[in-house]
């Protein structure tokens, strides 16, 4: 495909332009300027620089990969060319923005952005500097490809960890200043490590060397081990090791809120809540194959039930305590699952999706309406929902509420496993594969479907009840479509039908955005891109269920249209 004599210019241009488009995109949507002041290490490596030069670097790397059979100097030169190519859009942007005022339309093309892109050197000199630096980054990218495997892996992990700590510096800071770490001087250490969210350069260097060294050491050792070791059967030592690990894991799970501090406990609480919802939705979508886009409806029912039952405000009916109200929430969930399940029993696939989506919206609108306001507060919501308490001890802080959702998720997980292995679980899966065949086999479709809806709804309503008790006040606006979308996305990103998948999905789609709070308006952008990339790279999810993985492979072979939804 490429001629043998020189490098193929077309490839260089292609990868260069792809890198250039990425860099241009990040500039014109304002990310470069927004993060120009966000230092990662010291005051000399900022997030904006990574955004600007990431494109050229990747272009160089990809080009090098394409020309891997060529001599080294050629590869480096190709990388150089691709890197320079990748700056072309930004240079054009600089020149055009100086000639015409684009700001009336593109709000992000501001003088500030120009200042950053041209390094404060004016349009012509600045463009040259940008192009030159991009070329160098392209060459570095190509050079990176040429490094031997172990070294490039070592470098990658060292760079990723160092920059990662810089990126998540705020959270590192929080952990260090949390309750007990701060007692042994964690806060002072934090102050030394991190200034204004930026990693201290010396610390960064130490971290870089440490991680690099560790990776290198492990890589070389692993190689040596592979050469010497054979596979050995599970010995008693390994079993004991496993038990120890299990105990450590449980201990970590229990101690987590006190290690990570209050804010991260709140994040974990939300993750746990989504795990409960995800497990419930997993039954409906993953096992029974009923695509539900209105799952938030049951969550809202749970939250409002908790509110109406326990609230101390005039809307509260009974003033029962949380522990009695919680099972009532679950029962209400089951009932609403039945009630909303009946009309949609005969709908398939995407009709079901849009109708359930409609149910979600109807519930939210009714909760908001003036019509029902005398009973559930309308726009003013329900106030004064008491915290759960045991013998006078109130679960006021997220650290304590965390335990509640951990218990809830474990319970949900346990039930899910039991159900999956039960007769009902097999009926669901049979129904998912083919309704008509399942019915012919004597499965009662109505009953099976309704049970899926009801059990899934119960989990969601439980989560809703806990959520209401944590929040203390509920407003109808809370229960929007985003919850349904989040819950559905996390079970698919995690791996449909898989219980560990739900946990991983919740950590990624709920936990990560909370850790990256400072990205504010770009959070949902990254969420969206993450979803797309995830589906392209790992359509089966992070931790696919074994059975599902086989299905996917079979599907890929047949290249048939999938049947997950109906």
């Amino acid at each position: 495909m490429n001629n043998q004599i020189g490098p193929n210019w077309r490839t260089i241009v292609r990868f260069g332009l792809i890198g250039g488009v990425v860099a241009l995109y990040l500039s014109v949507i304002g990310m470069v300027e927004a993060f120009s002041a966000r230092n990662l290490i010291g005051t000399f490596i900022t997030l904006a620089q990574i955004l600007i030069f990431g494109g050229p670097f990747v272009a160089g790397y990809l080009t090098a990969r394409e020309f891997k059979d060529k001599p080294r100097t050629t590869i480096i030169l190709c990388g150089l060319a691709a890197g320079a190519m990748a700056s072309i859009f930004q240079v054009m942007l600089i020149l055009i923005a100086h000639a015409v005022d684009l700001r009336f339309m593109f709000v992000s093309i501001s003088p500030g952005l120009m200042e950053i892109l041209t390094f404060g050197q004016g349009q012509y000199l600045g463009s040259l500097i940008l192009a030159a630096l991009s070329a160098v980054m392209g060459a570095i990218g190509a050079g990176y490809f040429l490094l031997p495997g172990t070294i490039s892996r070592t470098l990658t992990s060292a760079v990723v960890v160092t920059l990662g700590v810089g990126l998540f510096s705020e959270n590192v800071n929080q952990i260090l200043s949390s309750n007990w770490l701060s007692l042994i001087g964690g806060r002072s250490v934090a102050r030394l490590l991190i200034q204004q969210k930026s990693l201290n350069p010396i610390v960064a260097l130490v971290l870089f060397l440490a991680v690099g060294g560790l990776t290198y050491w492990r890589a070389t050792r692993a190689k040596a081990q592979v050469e010497s070791d054979d596979e050995s059967p599970a010995t008693g030592r390994q079993k004991r090791f496993r038990t120890v690990m299990l105990i450590i894991a449980i201990g970590a799970l229990l101690g987590l809120p006190w290690i990570v501090g209050r804010f991260l406990s709140q994040v974990l609480f939300m993750v746990g809540l989504y795990i409960m919802m995800g497990l419930g939705l997993n039954i409906v979508v993953g096992y029974a194959g009923l695509l539900d886009l209105g799952y938030v409806a049951f969550f809202a029912f749970g939250a409002y039930t908790m509110g109406v039952i326990t609230s101390a405000s005039p809307l509260g009916l009974t003033n029962l305590n949380f522990w009695i109200a919680l099972p009532i929430c679950a029962i209400v969930g089951v009932l609403t699952g039945f009630v909303l399940g009946v009309p949609v029993l005969r709908m398939r696939g995407d009709y079901l999706a849009i109708v359930t989506l409609g149910f979600g919206e109807i519930i939210r609108i009714l909760a908001l309406s003036d019509w029902l306001a005398p009973f559930i507060g309308g726009a003013q919501g329900i106030l004064h929902i008491p915290y759960p308490s045991i013998a006078g001890f109130q679960f006021k802080t997220p650290e304590w509420m965390y335990y509640l959702v951990i218990i809830g998720s474990l319970l949900a997980g346990f039930l899910t496993i039991r159900l999956r292995e039960s007769r009902l679980g097999r009926q669901w899966m049979a129904m998912r594969e083919d309704e008509d065949v399942a019915e012919a086999m004597g499965i009662n479709l109505v009953q099976t479907k309704l049970l899926a809806f009801a059990i899934g709804a119960a989990f969601s309503a439980l989560a809703g009840g806990i959520f209401a008790a944590r929040l203390g006040t509920i407003f109808p606006h809370t229960f929007n479509l985003l919850w349904s979308i989040n819950a559905l996305s996390l079970i698919i990103v995690g791996g449909m039908g898989s219980i560990p998948g739900v946990m991983v999905g919740a950590l990624i789609l709920v936990g990560l955005p909370e850790l990256l709070r400072e990205f504010q308006e770009y959070r949902l952008l990254m969420y969206g891109i993450l979803l797309v990339v995830m589906m392209l790279v790992k359509p089966e999810g992070f931790v696919p269920a074994a059975r599902r993985q086989q299905e996917l492979r079979a599907h890929a072979k047949e290249s048939a249209v999938g049947t997950a939804a109906d």
Binding site: Q174, G185, A210, Q266, D370, A379, Q380, L471, E514, R517
Partner: protein, 417 residues
């Protein structure tokens, strides 16, 4: 790896030793003290709406806070002032998450925020329990400062803006007395703010002797207002009050011209629509309508606007910046007042003392009038704690052709109580 560990443990030992040296101050505050070592910043938090549809409010408040800090050269008691801004969105869960994050940082002394009342309602107990002092520049829901079972006030919360009890009354009095209106229709958008404000306005209007013909609601996201406007038109009210936001507000203004029966109805919006882009977006139909909202004037305010233009650029996007400025100043003044400074420059701030100092603020001469943060009584069963505003800084603006066609902003004020 070993070396790293050694370095780290050394650092830890050193810092513990350092920490042990500096504790001659005995804190006797009921809910604890914040100690600020020499060279460390005095840490102020802000919980504002940074993203979402009401981000203009957050931007507006943030400017006010930043200017107030810049006025002191970013310095207080020889310590730099550090500002940390958290996005509290405009929702209960957003408010609670932001509150958890802010209160997880024990160095934060006081907080400016939140913007939306729903966010504050959920954040209230977290903030109160943590001991920080919270001053909101924009929470207008009456329940937040009222004391009682139906209300949500907890110690440590203050607000510098007027409650809806003031604004709704001003709008009603303007409509009844100035415009001579006798019938009224209101529309809210399901936000706690709009629902409450129209309720207060309608109640006051009825109290004055007028008739409320219709109280309805639209949903956020609705685009077609003809149906509700038709319902309104059935009674041909003198005044239509809709204290809602963009884009529903401009939809109402623009579509009202198509409905027969609304030709003589006067439109009044509220501070949610007091945004620079509103008149132009609404089109020529907006000419002659009114907006109630915060009204600030005077030489010191002009000076503030000059600072805004210098430091932030342009004009403030909404009407609450002056409250944010005053709130920050009240907080910083109170910190200055209660702080105990050691000989080496270490500052100790008693958390309860700070709250008491803010409560004791009287006769504070701010941009938004003379403020007084003590207890207030609005009527029977309506006793409020932490309400600093006196309702002076309110007005009704008239949108004229200059705003719609020539980008003039802000509009001229028509009426002040």
């Amino acid at each position: 790896m070993k070396r790293l560990f050694a370095v780290l443990s050394l650092l830890m030992v050193a810092s513990v030793a350092l920490g042990a040296c500096a504790a001659p101050f005995d804190c006797d505050d009921a809910i604890g003290c914040v100690d600020i070592a020499p060279g460390d910043p005095i840490h102020i938090g802000a919980m504002l709406t940074i993203s979402g549809a009401t981000a203009f409010l957050g931007e507006d408040s943030r400017g006010g806070v930043e200017i107030a800090i810049a006025d002191r050269d970013t310095e207080l008691l020889d310590h730099p002032i550090q500002l940390t801004v958290e996005d509290s969105l405009c929702s209960a869960e957003g408010g609670q998450t932001a509150a958890t994050k802010i209160t997880a940082d024990p160095t934060i002394v006081g907080v400016i925020g939140t913007n939306c009342s729903s966010a504050m309602t959920a954040a209230m107990s977290t903030m109160s329990a943590s001991g920080v002092t919270t001053l909101s520049p924009t929470n207008t829901a009456p329940a937040l400062t009222l004391i009682g079972e139906e209300y949500t006030w907890e110690p440590g919360y203050f607000r510098v803006c007027h409650t809806d009890l003031f604004q709704g009354a001003v709008a009603a009095e303007f409509a009844y007395n100035e415009l001579g209106a006798r019938t009224l229709a209101t529309i809210h958008d399901g936000s706690p703010y709009a629902d409450q404000l129209q309720e207060v306005m309608a109640a006051r209007f009825a109290e004055l002797g007028g008739t409320v013909t219709f109280q309805g609601a639209v949903n956020v996201g609705d685009t077609d207002m003809r149906t509700i406007l038709t319902t309104v038109a059935a009674d041909t009210p003198d005044v239509l009050y809709f204290p809602i936001f963009e884009p529903e507000g401009p939809f109402i203004v623009a579509q009202s011209s198509e409905i027969s029966g609304l030709e003589d109805t006067i439109l009044i919006g509220a501070d949610g629509l007091l945004v620079a882009g509103f008149p132009e977006n609404s089109g020529e139909n907006a000419i002659g309508m009114y907006l109630s909202g915060p009204y600030v004037s005077g030489a010191s305010y002009d000076e503030f606007l000059t600072k805004w233009d210098d430091q932030i650029g342009g004009v403030p996007p909404s009407g609450f910046h002056a409250f944010a400025y005053d709130a920050t100043n009240i907080l910083l003044d109170a910190i200055e007042e209660v702080a105990v400074v050691d000989s080496d420059g270490t500052v100790h701030i008693g958390r309860q003392a700070l709250r008491d100092a803010v409560t004791a603020t009287t006769g504070f001469d701010g941009l938004t009038g003379v403020l007084d943060c003590g207890q207030k009584v609005f009527g029977e069963g309506l006793t409020a704690n932490g309400d600093c505003a006196t309702g002076e800084a309110l007005g009704v603006f008239k949108i004229t052709a200059a705003e719609v066609l020539e980008d003039n902003w802000p509009p001229p004020v028509e009426y002040t109580p």
